[in-house]
Amino acid sequence: MKNNTWVVLQREYTTRVKKKGFFIMTILGPILLVALMFAPALLMQMGGSSKTYALVDETGLYATAFEKAENLFEPVKDTAEAKAGMRDEKYAGALWIPASGLDSNRQGMVFFYRETDPSMSTLEEIESLAENKLRMVLMQQESDLDPALFSYINEASVSVISQDVETGERSYTEIKSIIAYVVGFLIYGFVFIFGSQIMSGVIEEKSNRIIEVMISSVKPFQLLMGKVLGLALVGLTQLLLWGVLTLVLTMAVGLIGGSGSMEAAQMAATSSAMPGMGASVPMTEVQSTMLEIQSIIESLHLKTLLLYFLAYFLGGYLLYASLFAAIGAAVEDQEDTNQFMWPITIPLIFGILVVATVLKDPNGPLAFWTSIIPFTSPIVMMARIPFGVPAWELVLSLGLLVLGFIGTTWLAARIYRVGILMYGKKGSYKELWRWIRYKG
């Protein structure tokens, strides 16, 4: 009899994997991912499209300030000329520095634009370059400090890294935060996508009226399990293909783009410098970035992370999948599902929302409880794991997740076996409660 669960599983798996949608998702996923990784770097390398702006400097102090700017600033006589140039599309914009303000440490400037707003980074660049220049000018006016000494002082900066006191490992908090979000959304997305597929599969069987033929050969529970496990395999297949394809694509893009783009990509990903590396060891840039990536990977404990991801991915999916099936069994068509969806939707969305809080305080009470309770734990615990979680919490959380999915499966199976044969009866929560209590 176990055989039949297997036969159902095979059908659910093969029909879905053969679908065009699966193929498209499998191809598109890694392409999007790799594009997201490389696009900023590649764009940066291309240098983007640098624009020419007019510079109306009434103070006469800033002419050299923008030499290092990404965009070209061309000095013009007055605003009238600048505006005329903009109209002729000679200039994309104009920066007007009025003479007033020279007597204090405040300088107002106006950036004129036409049709398209200047980007945030353009304005920030102007501000930072101009501020440096202003400080230099003020310093020269008000003191007799050596300009070289001043610029040394002006460029002073502080950076904090965090390090494990036992292992000396560095913690890459930003990268971990990104991973926490990506993993959280992956689990959330998979639960919804595959859960909905199960639900519409059940609705299809019910509205097609094939269900009665089916359950004269298969126990409803076997049918349910065949579906749930079949789709779990589809999900794992998709993940595996994504992983492999992403790896291949990353390597391919790296090769084609040459080492330059690789470095750019890595630099875009991490702009911070290596810790504990004395200047005594001279290294090429490539070597140092390679080392950095290695240390990031080490710090993430990728293997453990992957293992936990699989555990929570499967656990979370199994917890919700049979509930989706139960909803499918309780309704007659897709439109009726709304009233039953919120018990599934709310905890999942709540989990995603909590991730933001968790990143601020990975061990706070909210993070703790939501990562222990099965309905949110797959998302929240995965966000906490990169930052380190005590073993007992992981054991408790995973244990409860297993109990949770056994519980929801049991509950869902009881609704499912009655629901699939109910026609013309609109399910309500009261009705579902009665179905759960039916015996036999």
């Binding site: 055989n3 036969v7 094939i210 033929v213 004269s216």
Partner: protein, 311 residues
């Protein structure tokens, strides 16, 4: 008597509603057994119990003398009244899937399916999607899938509904052929004409209770009102005398002079054929004599109404 299926005192309740109330049935091996009853009588519930889709609250069911168990589903073929197929699957794949669920291997199922499809002239549909087929075509596939694993017990719930007359005839022939090959068939229907044609035995269920069962011939005889259809050479005088001996329910004049066709009944209570025939012979020359048995349709209506009145 060798029974393929026996149900003893089967009770099934849904909440406060009793769908089957101590129903006992025995289906002899190798017969076509009609399961009759008005809508909502409990036929489908009974069939679902045999198929182990649902379990009885009380009572027990035996197949070939063994208490119903999961193993039996491989020996049962069920064509439900509400039947469908996966619309987006290909015909062949779909049939293979359902056959595998009934325990056939892929290879064996493929072989048998091609055999059946060739017989029905539908082998060219193998790679077509179910949604491209007409309803009649889909029903042929459903029928093939139901019988493919050669079950000892076949259950057809309203098999003819939705079939056009040609396909209905085809289906009927196939059902009779399966019977010849030794299958036992339970046949649930409202179509009383088809019951008379193909059923050997019936059970009538009304409002969760079995109110009548037995061999079709026996039942019709039991319900006989002792009405006979007669063709008699006689003359008006003797006919008048006959009228004092028996009830003449109908008298149809004939084109042939002196030939009377009548529907008659003994006026003094019950009477078998012979006394009636002797009486008739005294008043003329009997050309044709046959008992007018009630139709299953009449019996169905009469029994159900009687059961209603008893309440």
């Amino acid at each position: 008597m060798d029974y393929l299926l026996e149900a003893k005192e089967v009770v099934k309740r849904y909440g406060n509603y009793t769908a089957l109330d101590h129903v006992s049935l025995a289906v002899p091996k190798g017969c076509i057994f009609g399961l009759l009853g008005p809508n909502g009588a409990g036929k489908t519930t009974f069939i679902r119990i045999i198929n182990q889709i649902t379990a009885p609250d009380e009572g027990s069911v035996f197949i070939k003398g063994e208490r119903l168990s999961r193993e039996h589903i491989y020996d049962v073929g069920y064509l439900p009244e509400e039947r469908g197929l996966y619309r987006n699957m290909k015909v062949g794949e779909q049939a293979l899937y359902l056959a595998q669920l009934k325990g056939l291997s892929r290879a064996e199922a493929t072989k048998r399916l091609h055999g059946w499809f060739a017989k029905f002239g539908i082998d060219s549909w193998w790679n077509r999607k179910v949604s491209e087929l007409s309803k009649g075509m889909q029903q042929k596939i459903q029928f093939v899938v139901t019988v493919l694993h050669k079950p000892g017990l076949l259950i057809f719930d309203e098999p003819f509904s939705g079939f056009d007359p040609i396909n209905a005839q085809l289906l009927k022939d196939e059902i009779l052929e399966l019977k010849k090959q030794g299958a036992t068939i339970i046949f649930s229907t409202h179509n009383m004409a088809s019951v008379e044609e193909i059923c050997d035995e019936i059970a009538l269920i009304n409002k969760s209770k079995k109110i009548l069962d037995g061999k079709v011939e026996d039942i019709r005889r039991n319900f006989s009102d002792n009405i006979y259809e007669v063709a008699l050479y006689s003359d008006p005088e003797r006919m008048a005398a006959l009228a004092s001996q028996v009830d003449i329910l109908e008298e149809n004049p004939c084109d042939v002079p002196g030939l009377f066709t009548l529907k008659v009944k003994m006026n003094a209570g019950a009477g078998h054929g012979n006394p009636m025939l002797e009486t008739l012979m005294r008043y003329g020359e009997v050309k044709d004599f046959s008992e007018k048995l009630p139709s299953m349709n009449d019996i169905f209506i009469q029994t159900v109404k009687q059961a209603e009145n008893e309440k």
